[in-house]
Structure formats: structure tokens, C-alpha cells
Amino acid sequence: MKKRRKIVRIEDIGKPSEQMVNIEPEDLMSLPYLQSSDSKSPPIKPLTEDQKKRYECSLDGVSAIGLPRLKSKEEEERAVKDFLSGLKKLLSRKDNWTFLQPLMLSLENCVKCHTCSESCPIYLASGRQEIYRPIYRSEVLRKIINKYLKKGGKFAKFTGNDIDLNWTTIARLAELAYRCTLCRRCAQACPVGIDNGLITHEIRKLFSQEMGIAPKELHELGTVQQLQVGSSTGMKPEAFVNIIKDFMEEDIEEKTGKKIEIPIDKEGADILFIQNAGEFLSWPENPEAYAIIFDAAGLNWTLSSELSGYDADNYGVWYDDIQLARIALKQVQVAKKLKTKKIVVGECGHAHKALIVIADRILTGELNIPRESCLPLLADLVCNEKLKLDPRKNDFPVTLHDPCNMVRLMGIVEPQRRVLRKICPQFREMEPHGVENYCCGGGSGFAIMSQTNFSDWRSSISGRMKIKQLLETFKDVISPEIRKYVCAPCSNCKGQFRDLLDYYNIERKYNLSYTGLADLVVNAMVDIKQPFLQEPANL
């Protein structure tokens, strides 16, 4: 008989205990094909005793942000004071004009009907763990506001706002802000329009902008490193140029026989093409594919080797408005300096959202340079026959993953489909797809966060729904005899797919891999004799 799970209440977040929630393998949503092997070991590797001593992990035994334990009562009291100070700023017109209106609306009007819960892949995949319910963290914040910042807080017990704001609450809430991928599927489902994803985003901001608390991968190694050395990968401008000139151009020639000179820092080009720098290091075939396509189409384009000009990343979009603005500004300054007509953002979802949409109301005057997605451009080249393509070269099953940032949050739904319908005869949709898609589970920075045991949590819980979807999409061609691909036109999603396929051993077992969109286009080009998509050697 299935044991009855302990009821977790909002106020439990402030009650000290070793761990609020224990996630057992049998709690998790079952997966097709994988049930038996998947449930053999605990889904999440426990932290070592040393890590437990060093990091706050009393939420669910996972440490996403490596929050150090505080050493004294005074430090804890100081943290409570800082938290409340940040919370006041979050609710002020002056300090938080950037998101005050949507935040007020979402904080004040939730009717707690739980419609959002059924749309959250993390809540469902975790076996409905209460702490991952979309409104759980929102309710924690509401109760803190009602008790500590509003008149009538003294009557919290009678009004249902009885919550203790102590270090335990703060530490758990900081971790809990990193158990949501900000995919905003919950917001889309809400009949009133409440956005729990936004509330999570604002909690992250409070921690970063007031208390200096953010995952190392997003802040120190992310935005700070990008502003200092030019890229969140740590790649410096010289290294970037070397990769292009010494490796990529040669690699293109070797693979395709085409001698292409990739333009860097060319003044007056029509397009400044800016990609996630991770592509150059982890998946150079994607920027290579764009170079081949742009060359074949005769576009007047350039890359930039300026600081931030070769990295479309903007992790600020996930946790810090100031860092977001700083990076966006740097990126458009590069375009201004090169006098390009527009910026085209490569296959990276959060970079799309950050630079094209969110930064729209930060960039004024001559910095407001036109910024567009690479997907309509690719669709134009493919569908208007500006490239010679033979779809028979892509005659294998392909499905499309919709990156949340491009699709649900920007409405770029069709261009990538038009491309795939044109070049992949066995293209098939996942269900649900388009604006109703499920996040890959690596969104909002998760794909690059791998401190302690967080990557286990990411693979076993936040990516679980996507794996289920993927396996169901290919159920009629699941045999390893058939090579198949999920096309993920986003660097972070690709990183997550790489980890998921490895964690569940899917590439080896089912011959299922991932690729970018441009890669598939080049694979279909008539004048390229060898397959551009490389099959892994170990299959």
C-alpha cells in the first residue's frame, strides 16, 4: 500500500528541521520504457556530510545555490533585516519600477484555485511535492508581506498569515526560488492571470540585488565574468578569434569542402550575428552551420570580438535587473560601434528574450537598434528557396522542442516549423507543443547549474516531463536501429538535452540525439556531399 505523504503547510517553511521534504524514487512520475532501471537508485544523490555542514540544504536535501550556513545568531538576525529591506524595495515604485505592476497584480489577486498546479512539469514530475506547487513559494512571500510589512500583521494568526520569518525561512525560500524554471506555463494556465513564475523571478531578484545571494554559475561565473572578460564561458576575445580562424574555418572546409572566411568586426554589415558563446565551445557545428548558410545566401553579416559582442548570453534575465541592463547595453553598444543595421540573435532562448524583448524598455535613443530572432531569417532563406536543399538527406524522425523563451514568451512559433516541414520529411510534433510546450527542465539557468547534487535534481525532476514527452513522441520508432533527433534551437535546452540523454542513457539505448536547427538545414544542403550531422562514434 502506498504510504500517505506528510502534509506540508506554508508555515512549515520556517520550522527548523533537518529536511522539510524527502523525495523518494517511488514518488516520481513514471517514465515509459525506463521504469525499472530508473527506480533502482535514489533519484538524487545525497550531499556529503561535509557539504551538509557547509551549505543550507534543509528544503529538500539539494543545494542549488550553495548558500553557506550562517555562524551566529547575529548573522541570522542581520539576514532577516536585509531580507525585509529587500522586500520593501521589491514593492516600491522607485526601486522596482521594472516589474512592480505585474508583481502587485500577482501578489494581490490569487484565488488559490490550483489551476496552475496541473500545468507545472516540476510539480507533476516530482509526484506532486507540495513545496514545488507553483503557488507554494508565492504564498510564503504573501504571508511574509502580510505579517511583516502590512498593517494588521499583529493579527496574523487570525488572518491566516502566521509564518515565522527567520533564517530557516530565508534559506529555504532562496533555494525554493531555484526549483522553478520560470517557464511560466502556470501563468498561461491561470484564469486570473496570476504569474507565479514572475513572483519566483522577483524573489531571486530580492536575494541578488539586496543580499548578494545568487548561484555562482549565474552571477560570479555568469554575468560578472561576462562583463569582465567578455563571455560567461570565460572565453576572452583573443580566444574567440582563434576559435573562428584556427578551428572553425578549417573545420568547415574539412566537413564541406567550402572555404569560407567568417567575417569578424566588419563595419557597416547588415547583420551583427550574436550567439551564445557556449555554442563555439560545446557545439561549434551550430555557428559553423550559420556561417555556411549566410555565405551560401550571400548575406552581409559579421560576428564581433568585442567584450559581450560574441556572447548573446544574458543571465541577468533570470535573477538581476541591473546585470540584465548592463549586459544588454554592452551588446547593443557593440552593434552601434560596428554600425550594423540590426542584431540577429542566434539559437539561444533566454538571449532572445533578454535582448529582443525585455531590454526593449531599457534601450533608448540610438541604442535602440533593431534586434531580431535568427528563426524568421532562417525560415526566409529556407522557404523562399534562397538555399538549395534536398529534404531526402534528412529522412529520419525529427521532433521539435519549443524553447519557452522563444515560443511561449515571444510568440516565435511557426518559422522553425516552416523550416522543419520543408527539410525534414519525418518531422513530428511533441504533445503538447508550441506555446503549450513543456520546458526542457534546464530553463532559468538550471542547465548551467551543477553545484553539489543540483544536476541530479535537474535531470530526475525538472527534466523528467521532457524525457517522458520525448520517449512518447518516438514510441513508434523507438528501436535503436533508427537514428532520431530532437531539434532544440536553444543552447541552454541543448545543454539540458545533453545531460538528460546521458542521465537516462537514452542516446545509447534508443539512438536518440539532439541538434540545432541550422545544423539540420546544412545537412540538407545539396552541395554538401558528406552528412553534416555527425553520428556518435560509440553507438
Binding site: 484555485c113 491566516g160 540590426k342 524598455r361 506555446v435
Partner: protein, 321 residues
């Protein structure tokens, strides 16, 4: 001041507070600063983009005219308000409760409007009764009766059902506060007291119409039973309570959709929007984390020579540690 005229005063004051409260809330939301874009697709006013797509799907979209459909937005909202489409498709189990519950609320408002029309009609010498010589008099009579009764019966049953559901469904119960139970009980009291007043004292809603008439003319009103006065008092109390609670989510819904989810207006420069943004960027920032320099303006912070300053701040942070 006799008790009758006191009830008039109470009615007018509470109606005034009700509308003022609603207006204050709407103004508070409406005057919040312009926010960074945070839209969510599908956006109801998009034209020519299937599958929930947007103008960002077009190459060189800034050079093309934008098409927006007001009809698209109105159709979406009409379906939401009339049928609770969102709940119907995404949470059918709760739809069975909240849809009729809200329908009872709508009917209550319609009942008040029909009472008002009836009162105006009698002032214009059009008798309102089952045996009225005027067909309109008969229609208004039966409409008042049907709408009022339907509202009270459905409202009473559904308020009770929702109270029960919230207190027995473990998922809902965990998130239901004493205030939520109080609010539901308050709504129940309105419908139930209306039903009791109808049963005991006003089976044709003639007295209710006469009271409405006295509100318009400020003449003394007919004698009213304690049941009717109780009902009117509960409604008046609710009018001064509701605007200051979460029950105004219908107002919020306008803003969550029109000003957040569907707010996809691009900043194409040199317009009113850019002016507003520049004003906001001129505000000082007071966040305290080490990578932010408090006191600087937004624009200064964003445009500051970030490399050296960030380095400096990071060094400061490291030296503290």
C-alpha cells in the same frame, strides 16, 4: 433622522465607498510605472499569426505596419466573463463550482438593474405586476422575480458548496485562510438573507422595488420587515468591504491580461513610451548588494564602465570575506 432615512444614507454612502474603492484600486494598478515587457503567448490581439505566434515571427518586423485586433481581445474576454473558459478547459472540477457561483453574482447585479428599471418605470406610471396592463410591466415583474430568485438560490447553494469544498478538499484546505472562509461566508450571507427576505416578507420583490424607488426620489419608503432590513444591511456592509479584498480580481484581470500578458508594445523610439522610460531610468537605485552602487541612477548603473566597477566591487567583497 429617522431609521428609514438612515438606511438611505447608509445605502448611498456604501455605494459611494464601493465605487471609490474599486476606482482607487484600478487607479493604483493603472498608474504603476511602465514595466519591462513580460508578455505571454498567445496574445489575443495578434492578427495573422497562427498557433499563438507574434509579430516577432516576421523578418524586419520594425519596418512593417503592426496589425492588432481589438475584436480578438474582446472575444477572449467575453468568453472568459460569460463562460469562465479558462477554468472550463484547465480545471473542470473547480469550474463546476466557481462558474455557477459567479453566475449567481452576475444575476444579483442584473437583479439590481432590473429593480432600478422597475422603479423608474413605476415613477413613469408604468405599473409593474403580474396583472399589469402593460406587457413591459409584466416582463419586468417576471424578470425581477426570476433573476432575483435564481441569484439567491444558486448563490446560497454554491457559496455553501464552495465553503464545504474548501474545507474538505485537502489541497484547497491547505491554502485557505480564515479570511477566505470569512469572505465566502459573507457572500453566503448576502444570498441567504435575500432568500429569507423573499420567503418571509417580499415574495414579489415589490418592497425591494419600492425601496429602490425611494432611493431615487429620497421619499420615505414603505415599511420593511427585519428580514429585508437585515439583507440590505448585509449588502451595504459587503459594498464597503469588497473593494479592499481579493474579491476585486475582476478588475485585476483586466490589468493582468491587457497590461501584462498582452502588453507587447515595442519601444520603437522617440515616442511617449521612450519618454516614460527615460524618466524611470533617471531614478536613483537603492539596492544594497555589492555589485550595485546605491545612489546611482538606473541609467548610470547600467551604462557605467561595468568592467572596472564590477571588478572593484568584487574585490571589495572578497576583501570583506
Amino acid at each position: 433622522m429617522d431609521s428609514i432615512s438612515l438606511l438611505h444614507v447608509v445605502s448611498y454612502v456604501t455605494i459611494l465607498i464601493f465605487f471609490a474603492g474599486f476606482a482607487m484600486k484600478a487607479i493604483r494598478y493603472a498608474t504603476a510605472p511602465i514595466h519591462l515587457r513580460w508578455e505571454l503567448y498567445p496574445v489575443a490581439h495578434e492578427v495573422g499569426h497562427k498557433s499563438g505566434g507574434s509579430y516577432l515571427e516576421e523578418l524586419d518586423w520594425r519596418t512593417k505596419p503592426r496589425k492588432k485586433s481589438l475584436i480578438g481581445e474582446l472575444t477572449f474576454m467575453a468568453k472568459e466573463f460569460l463562460f469562465f473558459r479558462g477554468y472550463y478547459h484547465r480545471n473542470r472540477q473547480i469550474w463546476y463550482f466557481v462558474y455557477p457561483f459567479h453566475i449567481a453574482g452576475y444575476l444579483f447585479v442584473v437583479w439590481l438593474v432590473v429593480l432600478l428599471i422597475g422603479a423608474l418605470a413605476t415613477l413613469a406610471d408604468l405599473p409593474i405586476s403580474a396583472g399589469s396592463a402593460s406587457l413591459w410591466g409584466q416582463i419586468i415583474y417576471y424578470l425581477t422575480l426570476a433573476v432575483g430568485l435564481a441569484s439567491f438560490i444558486i448563490g446560497t447553494i454554491l457559496s455553501m458548496s464552495l465553503l464545504i469544498k474548501r474545507s474538505v478538499d485537502e489541497d484547497l484546505k491547505t491554502y485557505t485562510t480564515p479570511i477566505d472562509y470569512f469572505n465566502l461566508s459573507f457572500v453566503l450571507a448576502i444570498f441567504a438573507s435575500g432568500l429569507v427576505a423573499w420567503l418571509l416578507s417580499d415574495p414579489t420583490f415589490h418592497i425591494a422595488r419600492e425601496y429602490m424607488k425611494s432611493l431615487i426620489t429620497l421619499n420615505p419608503m414603505p415599511a420593511m420587515s427585519p428580514a429585508i432590513i437585515t439583507h440590505i444591511m448585509i449588502v451595504c456592509l459587503f459594498l464597503i468591504y469588497m473593494p479592499f479584498t481579493r474579491m476585486t480580481h475582476s478588475i485585476a484581470k483586466y490589468f493582468t491580461f491587457h497590461r501584462v500578458r498582452w502588453e507587447d508594445e515595442p519601444n520603437v523610439g522617440k515616442g511617449e513610451m521612450e519618454k516614460k522610460i527615460e524618466e524611470l531610468l533617471n531614478q536613483p537605485v537603492s539596492w544594497s548588494a555589492s555589485h550595485i552602487q546605491p545612489g546611482k541612477r538606473w541609467s548610470e548603473l547600467a551604462a557605467s564602465e561595468t568592467v572596472s566597477e564590477v571588478k572593484h566591487e568584487e574585490e571589495k567583497k572578497n576583501s570583506k570575506n
